[in-house]
Symmetry: C2
Subunit: 267 residues, 2 copies
């Protein structure tokens, strides 16, 4: 992973994020950062209390400048939604009314399907203190809510945006197991490689009289092999283990490697 950020792919697009009457510039900045983290880029602000542009928002955005620079201000929520085909309202509270209530996963999948079909979609986030009003929610198509701790249900606006953006990004993943990178080698070694480790270790231990009394040797070897095979070692791991055994086997504390005096001449 050498190289600067600018050499890596910048994902943009996705649902429009609409903030209704945001207050603190810091929160707007944190929203922009959360959006950028998960590939969203279109931010709309309805009547931000402290005006726009905002130095505090830019600072809190941690270089999500493409989101901050692209943010558009609207006087009313109606105007901010005018060109959208489908809109979710986020809320932590039960609402009277007939809007279907969706989980974040289902909402993200719904947004993805509509977006891929060419619809312009958006997600509506509420005021810092009070959340969205019933009038705001009435302008949306459906409601999305988060599975929160009942006694501690209030999410900050940037946290709510983060979760929805994250679920949006997850809709691009082929499976729930997919990760952006993988460890060096996740494939278990072949049995032949594992048996080579058994032989190597058992020979070195046998030479030291480890398997005593002789009658217990088969059981001891069974146990040893069980320990070594319980976790499926990868080929590189087996290489490391064999290096360890070789070192313990061939050198001593008194005559470490490089002293030209291997231990086996001492005994």
């Amino acid at each position: 992973m050498s190289g600067t950020n600018s050499e890596r792919e910048l994902i943009t697009g996705g649902p429009v994020v609409v903030l209704v009457e945001p207050q603190l510039g810091e929160n707007i900045g944190m929203v922009a950062r959360a959006m950028a983290n998960f590939g969203l880029s279109e931010l709309r602000l309805v009547a931000p209390r402290d005006g726009w542009p905002s130095d505090k928002a830019r600072a809190a955005a941690s270089k999500a400048d493409h989101v901050i620079d692209g943010a558009v201000i609207y006087e009313t929520l109606e105007a901010a939604l005018a060109d959208l085909n489908f809109v979710y309202a986020t809320t932590a509270r039960v609402r009277d009314g007939f809007k279907p209530v969706r989980s974040p996963i289902v909402a993200a999948e719904t947004l993805r399907a509509k977006y891929d079909a060419g619809e312009k979609v958006g997600i509506l986030f509420g005021r810092e203190k009070s959340g969205l009003s019933n009038e705001d929610v009435a302008l949306a198509d459906e409601v999305v809510t988060f599975p929160v701790n009942p006694a501690f249900a209030s999410l900050n606006i940037a946290q709510a945006v983060l979760l929805m953006s994250y679920e949006w990004m997850k809709t691009t993943m082929a499976s729930k197991d997919e990760t952006p990178f993988q460890a060096v080698d996740q494939t278990p070694a072949t049995k032949d490689q594992l048996f080579g480790l058994f032989d190597h270790l058992e020979e070195a231990l046998d030479a030291r009289g480890f398997f005593r009394p002789a009658a217990k040797k088969p059981k001891m070897i069974d146990n040893l092999r069980a320990v070594l095979s319980r976790r499926a070692f990868t080929a590189p791991e087996i290489k490391v283990m064999r290096g360890i055994i070789s070192s313990l086997d061939r050198f001593s504390r008194k005559h470490p490697r490089g002293t030209g005096n291997p231990d086996d001449f001492d005994d």
Copy 2:
């Protein structure tokens, strides 16, 4: 949803959250809040830069006092992990080494299975500036990483804790569709209720000569019914619609309801 927070269930427990050398008290507070939002409660701090307790942390925790009060300080990461059986390290970067790399969903499911089996489990989050060191990661069992925008991959520590806490909470959900509350009535109306709406509207329109020319009436009725049945109305929605039709049908702008002069006597 009347009542105060204190009357609602406070979920606690879950994996231990371990912050390695956290710096800003605000960030520790945001972590505590994120944990509380999604039912985690055990916080451990390894060598917090600005000491502990922290007024800034408490303020930023937005009343997640049970997490702040329960936080325990350790001098070393080894000590903080000593009593745990299984630990994830969170990282945004590829690491050399043999740790399996998991998605947040798989990591949360793994933690849940081990937790339910009685293991003590934890999640390790890195320093604000640099993330976890390779030495930190080496003390964990597996690595978890988030599906982020490649050119904008850096998550703030509270955001990372939020996402893992959220995925943890989701493991308690019976299905991906589950939400903490539902709309008033999500069950589609019966066909009988829908046909009642058709009859009501068609009769009112027919009385006004809406279906003209007569030859086109069947096609017009088809279209009307298609519109009314495309989205599966619920029974309360049908009730609202029939109220609308009744009002339009029985009253006029000139003689609104309550004037004792229904429109049908005028015509």
